[in-house]
């Protein structure tokens, strides 16, 4: 039997299964990247809170900071495959054999894992913003939270968008490790399919192409999004000396930064 016959056989039997696998992989990766980013943003905002004058608040913040650091180091420092097993079976152990539903568990695991990386990415993004932006906001009475939400995070997000894309792509690939707890993502579907058809090479060849199509299209899409965020390089001057309703369009090169 030729290679193409094998491919045909696998697809004929398992196209639907593979389709479901792609769906779950994308779903888990997308939701988890978004939640992970939110976790990262929240941690970023918390960790940049200026030191309080009150000793009690300072101690509280220090404890919180230590907890956040432990979270980041532990989840960056252990494989996600192991985290999946520990969390999924740890819950089952603690609740006398009752297990969590698989897809929510998968999203939970990938989210907190991503959050640990995102926290550091966001921190880098916040550090990259000029100190003057913080001072400008403080000097007119804006709170730390207001400054972050309206001034710093929008600028930081633009700077870290390439890293966020990176995390998203990594997540698409890394959902494959969730097969260890039986999440029916693409890799799991392929494993089942290869055992049904005995076409191991063909099956994994197919899913490698599917993984690549997913990651490649997403990286292109996000690149497009980055371009959109850069915005217009024109603005309009309202009114002139003789005509208050005049509009003069000015085209001026803006540079990213």
């Amino acid at each position: 039997m030729s290679f193409f016959d094998s491919i045909g056989k696998v697809l004929k039997l398992g196209a639907g299964q593979l389709f479901i696998g792609v769906g779950y992989t994308l779903l888990i990766a997308l939701i988890s990247t978004v939640i992970g980013l939110l976790i990262g943003l929240i941690i970023g905002i918390i960790r940049t809170i200026p030191k309080s004058k009150k000793a009690f608040v300072r101690v509280l913040m220090k404890i919180l900071d230590i907890i956040l650091n432990i979270y980041i180091e532990v989840f960056r420092g252990t494989p996600m495959m192991v985290q999946a097993m520990v969390i999924y079976w740890g819950y089952a152990f603690a609740s006398n054999g009752q297990t969590l539903p698989l897809i929510p568990s998968a999203i939970f695991i990938v989210s907190i894992n991503t959050g640990a990386y995102m926290a550091e990415i966001v921190r880098g993004g916040i550090i990259s913003i000029d100190k003057g932006q913080f001072e400008g906001a403080s000097s007119i009475g804006m709170s730390h939270f207001q400054t972050m939400v309206h001034v710093i995070i929008p600028q930081a997000l633009r700077n870290i968008l390439p890293s966020i894309s990176n995390e998203f792509i990594i997540n698409i690939k890394d959902t494959s490790v969730l097969n260890v707890i039986g999440v029916s993502e693409l890799f799991y579907q392929a494993t089942v399919l290869s055992k049904m058809t005995y076409e191991i090479f063909a099956t994994y060849a197919i899913i490698s192409v599917l993984y690549f199509i997913m990651t490649f299209s997403i990286s292109r899409l996000l690149r497009l999004f980055e371009k959109l965020l850069e915005g217009k390089n024109t603005y309009t001057i309202m009114g002139s000396g003789t005509d208050p309703n005049a509009e003069i369009k000015v085209v001026k090169e803006t540079h990213r930064g």
């Binding site: 007119i140 009475g141 709170s143 207001q146 600028q155 001057i237 000015v250």
Partner: protein, 248 residues
Amino acid sequence: MAETIFEIKKLVKNFGANEVLKGIDLTVTKGEVVSIIGASGSGKSTFLRCLNLLEQPTDGEILYRGNSILDAKFDVRSYRTKVGMVFQQFNLFNNMSVLKNCMIAQQTVLKRSKEEATENALKYLDKVGMSAYVNAKPKQLSGGQKQRVAIARSLAMDCEVILFDEPTSALDPEMVGEVLLVMKDLAESGLTMLVVTHEMQFAKDVSSRVIFMDGGVVAEDDVPEVIFNSPTNPRTKEFLFRVLNKDI
């Protein structure tokens, strides 16, 4: 007698072992335009930043309308809406248009409605001659234009004092004039201003009072006529000789 805005007593600021401010005493009354001059490193900017609490003073007291701004219970944020600051590097919000720059704190801090904030922002943008540029982003403006927007941003909070930290030092020479003109207007309108500056002409013509800082203390404090024509402190004389290239 005019109301007292600031009463500063024995203000000290250390950065580690480095003593920058060594006991500043100063009283500022409403409507005064105080120019703060002095050599680099004399503590002028640090002093101004302490007044806005961008730097936490090490010791001493700052009273604003009789209330200590260093008190733990003092409402720093509402104080900052009253005492605005204009920076050498403008510090406009890069992600917002000119109009939004002048609106955001009105909406978030003063909780004004969008309409009210827009109206107020336009009023002050008009005052600094920037109302035509409401749509532009800071990156699309020249330095002088940015600084005028920064002034409007503080004014839009309906502040009663503006602290200017070398507002023209980062500008190309041909843009210094437009900013000084706006500041002169503000001075004439009765706004209380503290201006750290290297523009001796401005200090001489516009301010009601000039302070010469040297080595972290106020070395001389007088009306401009005295400072520029017959300073009593030899250090003042020496400094003015250096910057003006002429003997007094």
